[in-house]
Amino acid sequence: MVSRVRAELRKLLGLPTAWVGLVLGTLTAPAIVLLNAPYTRRAIAAGTLTDTSDLGLRDLGVGLIGPMVLGVIAVSSEYTSTSQHAPGARQLTATLTAVPDRLRLLVAKTAALVLVVAAQAAVAATATLGLTQVLHGDHVPAPAPARVAGAILYWTLTALLAYAITLITRNGIVPLTLLVINSTVVSVSYLLTKITDLASYLPDIVGAQMFIRDADFPVEIAPLTAGLVMTAWVAVLLAIGAVLFQRRDA
């Protein structure tokens, strides 16, 4: 098991695109905190920020492109051709020859992704929240450990969401497009909450309630429940992806 996870880690970290995800995801949020510092200071002084305890945690959101790219690329790289000249030559063929048990393969792959993204999230969160403390420490309370853990969990689950959707579509572009446009300031999910309260239970909306308090969520959900609902989404999609992966021809 350990050797399989190590192999999957090597594969993931050997992809140039994965490093794009790692670098983008880790650096974007701290960079934004730094760049926005003057405006944030003004906002604090003017008293327009209602809940300053959200400050660093909210900025973390822009780094989510990292986990999304990592989740997508972990699967899509298996399906892209290894050679321009050999149609049908996919890395997956080599992978399945090395680890024929597909369920074990998926477990190892998932574990590798979780390790990488959780580590990335921990680094990004520490950097972002640390910077926020350094820059605005007088006005911003130190973040509660539970909320930081919630944010790290949110990153990991987002990566798994991207991963599960890619397992189902076997194509990187579709999940990437869906997730990235849905991570914009006014996300599609947020728009849907204006139509129906049920949209509050969409994974990205509900998951954010694990660590963000002050937002205009139409339905207030306790952090623990929020975490469970998002985990359920990921579990269901992963299950569908796993079943399809088992059944489909490589």
Partner: protein, 237 residues
């Protein structure tokens, strides 16, 4: 008629071709022989206008590839792979290529027939086996009924029946007056069909002439090849 005149090329600071010079004449099958990485494919890519030479010129019937008008009616080329996008059917692929050179759609079905893929015309290129991909690539090369054929490792991926078919096809093409240039690292295969042989090693031409001339005093072309490529100091000219 193919003329390659003192072509040199450097890639990532390594000189991969040194003053490569040779000819391939009409009515003859010319074999381009060399070990892996010797510069066969690089030379052919420059000949076909895909890559640029650093110096020198590669001409087809007296003109560089990029200056040819409706090039497929002059020269047909088979490179690695099918050259078709995996999501397109064989027929759809051949039809866009035909359109690009002003050839009628009916040519698509004609060349599919020549290479024996008529039954697979509606199949997507991504579903083709290696051998079928090569046949589709050859069908593309034949669309314009060209007078020059350039083939990179044409028998790679073909089964014994396919290899024999390819051999006869190339011999017949030369017999009809076409210029046929094919690269290979399979010496016995080449010895069976080539009239002329060019040997390249480490980016330099080390021998050229008729099959008999290049074989010389050696028992087989293979022996001659090893003698030529192993001893760099002794050159035939």
């Amino acid at each position: 008629m193919i003329t390659v005149d003192r072509v040199s090329k450097t890639r990532s600071r390594t000189r991969i071709l040194h003053d490569v010079t040779f000819e391939a004449r009409p009515g003859r099958v010319t074999g381009f022989l060399g070990p892996n990485g010797a510069g066969k494919t690089s030379t052919l890519r420059i000949l076909l206008g895909l890559d640029r030479p650093e110096s020198g010129a590669a001409l087809i019937c007296g003109r560089p590839y990029r200056k040819l008008d409706r090039p497929l009616t002059t020269i047909g080329a088979l490179l690695d792979g099918s050259g078709a996008h995996r999501a397109r059917t064989a027929r759809a692929h051949l039809r866009w290529v035909a359109a690009s050179n002003g050839l009628p759609d009916s040519r698509a079905d004609e060349v599919l027939e020549i290479v024996g893929l008529t039954g697979d015309a509606r199949k997507r290129a991504g579903r083709f086996s290696l051998g079928m991909s090569r046949r589709l690539g050859l069908a593309t090369a034949l669309l314009g009924d060209p007078e020059v054929l350039v083939l990179d490792e044409p028998v790679n991926g073909l089964d014994p029946v396919g290899i024999r078919w390819m051999r006869e096809f190339l011999r017949n093409s030369a017999a009809q007056g076409r210029t046929v240039l094919l690269s290979s690292h399979l010496m016995s295969e080449l010895a069976e069909i080539a009239d002329d042989v060019i040997v390249i090693d480490k980016g330099r031409i080390v021998a050229r002439g008729s099959l008999a001339e290049v074989t010389g005093d050696h028992r087989t072309l293979e022996d001659a090849f090893f003698a030529l490529t192993a001893t760099e100091a002794v050159r035939p000219w």
